[in-house]
Symmetry: C2
Amino acid sequence: MNPSQVPTPDTNLEAYLQSAQSSQLEDLSDWLRIPSVSTLSRHTADVERAAAWLARKMEAAGLQNVETVPTDGHPIVYSDWLHAGDGAPTVLIYGHYDVQPVDPEELWNSPPFEPTLRGDNLFARGASDDKGQLFAHVAAVEALLATSGSLPVNVKFLVEGEEEVGSPALYAYLPAQTKKLSADVCLISDTHILSPDQPMIIYGLRGVWAGEITVNGPSQDLHSGMFGGAVHNPNQALAALLAQLHDSSGRVAVPGFYDEVQELTESERIALAKVPYGDVELLQESGAPAVWGEEGYTVTERIGARPTLEINGMWGGFIDDGFKTVIPAEAHAKVSCRLVPDQHSSAIGPMLEQFLKQIAPPTVEVSVNTLQHAPATVVPLDVPEMQAAARAYKTVFGVEPVFSREGGSIPIATVVQESLGIPILFMGFGLPDDNLHAPNEKLHLPNFYRGIRVGIALMQELISS
Amino acid sequence: MNPSQVPTPDTNLEAYLQSAQSSQLEDLSDWLRIPSVSTLSRHTADVERAAAWLARKMEAAGLQNVETVPTDGHPIVYSDWLHAGDGAPTVLIYGHYDVQPVDPEELWNSPPFEPTLRGDNLFARGASDDKGQLFAHVAAVEALLATSGSLPVNVKFLVEGEEEVGSPALYAYLPAQTKKLSADVCLISDTHILSPDQPMIIYGLRGVWAGEITVNGPSQDLHSGMFGGAVHNPNQALAALLAQLHDSSGRVAVPGFYDEVQELTESERIALAKVPYGDVELLQESGAPAVWGEEGYTVTERIGARPTLEINGMWGGFIDDGFKTVIPAEAHAKVSCRLVPDQHSSAIGPMLEQFLKQIAPPTVEVSVNTLQHAPATVVPLDVPEMQAAARAYKTVFGVEPVFSREGGSIPIATVVQESLGIPILFMGFGLPDDNLHAPNEKLHLPNFYRGIRVGIALMQELISS
């Protein structure tokens, strides 16, 4: 750009944002090509590559003190820009560069790690959860630094590679780093908005308990023709146990499960009823034959404000092609619970195991192994940062955001909130049909570019909040 | 051997049988090294190699008209020796050269396709089911032809490579070959005896129905945090359906399942009570924590004379290492039923599907796909060939065999019995703890060598029956 034609800062920024779109897309696509699946050990080197890629990108964007912190698991990436001056607030931006596994891979319409543009959408594992959403904030910082040389607020990035496996390294890292990470507000873009034109601020996220149920029967696999009918089949026993985890009204049947649950207040039910999402939208997005769930609650309430128990995986016996007449020695289920205030996430595993041991027949043995747990998070609606967030959305989208509670969990959010003592802004720009954790994950590109603008607008709004 | 020292035929045979043991073991081990797993398409070439190996062995043993019959699936191997002269009976010896899959392979103490001798046992997939047992009859023919140049009876071998996948090729082959396969009796060694010193003749085998249950829910995998509690999880729905397939007394709860079942007669119950096998033996062999099954029946009755329904495999959702919070689009179970007279094997699939569709909630769809089915077989105890079989066992083991009904199924036996109109002798020499269809399958070698002698004795006894 010719110095004699320097435009006003805003015009300058606008021109930058328009011309940078193709390189932003190219950069993000580069990152998405790295299969950083944190839960599969065969991808460990890929996860490290994704961390190194991000560190290089942060340097290029003008962020400082870029650090790739080794941990017992996958690295944490830190960087900052702290020159906003006296009195300027500090924003801690959290995200994760690890992604979910891709199976069943045969259901992807394009390879999960070959980002593919179809219409307005970029298809790739991690496009929305969370590489795309996190990248937008790096791009927002880059845009401001490139066009004005500074940021209105101080910024710290804290990015982990273990969000999809329960954040063990970050749990260990946080308590000792509260000074380094001190900030006034934490921004997390790992949620979705209602539709491309309707932003939404999540003020509550459910907690989670996840674990494995194992049923043991005979000491080795048996021939079902020679032992069937006289030995209790662990598959059958597990099915019977799993069938007893819900009652006929869709409630979780584990005794004590609802004891600490905060019932929804009338005003909260009225607020949630305003969320333009119901049975029709649920059926459309899920393709399910019918709505299901706890009697007496709307789907928005079931998903956002009620606890659940889901069987995420189950397996036992012969599951390859063809046929094998076997009674397996054991059968397994991976189960997760979404939790709401004030459920104690640490109590769920023992509670479930006690119930299962009590209802299991003497013909099998059952045990429960906890893999991760974290309580629910709720952010007060009246903090000034929440209002700044609402204005930032309004500036970019032209409409007020709705406030909702969401079904997903970001366990680390609770820890950030508690250890740093700061409010959290869940300002996503994913969409409900982004196929998170499923085949054909995508990112709606118009919202990706809007996300960059929201990141910029938030930095600007926070100085007046 | 020096012609001037030719011993009497029996001494000659005895010397042969003693000196041939090491080469018989070596030959069988060669065959067991070929991983002829019929149900896995990656082993197709191995299955063909196993057929070719058998054909060569038959030639070497002195059998004639050796033929490897190509089919739509795996080849059938035929051979015969038909020079016993006018009036001599003909024995059709059936067996199979295919084997079960080996998973879970990590539980094998030695590689499944590297036959390993530990104590008196040879460990390998197929050692007992059925390569070892079939090989014994080839070795019996070889021994007689080598020492006396002839057999007392005519012999035909019919060996398939699809027994573990429902014998489709043999079903297609048999009806057109009834003349070629015509015989007076069929001998099948694919069952077990009670203990190394107690032979047993199986006079009844259960039939089988095998198929897959599929539960479909949402049109794609969903994030359980965003849809859990509002969409019916197919894993949960399948578990609930499977849990309803048995009632609390261990009976199959599918309406109509027992309608055609022949109840045991009092005399049959008395006979089965003499089988020295009960709760203690069952627990010892299976390693199960407790006995299970249909109330009002002993374990021998449950296994041999009552129909069953077993879940051989089930799977849905994320079953890899780690964790994935998914609601799967579908969940599956592989189910098999063992059937008794006079259950119609073709009726089971529709019966099961009708029941499942009736009890399934509108929030999922359920379907049943039949993979194979065959009715039960019972052989009259009073045919003369059955008495010849008893004498053959007595000659070799020194004790009378017991008569029992067994839980396993050899569907093709029914077809042989019906299409050729001949009785079937189930004269096994496997043992109950041979780990058929499980890790560490083994063959008890003393019984392998006795099996060869039983084969010889049977040929000799049949001419006087």
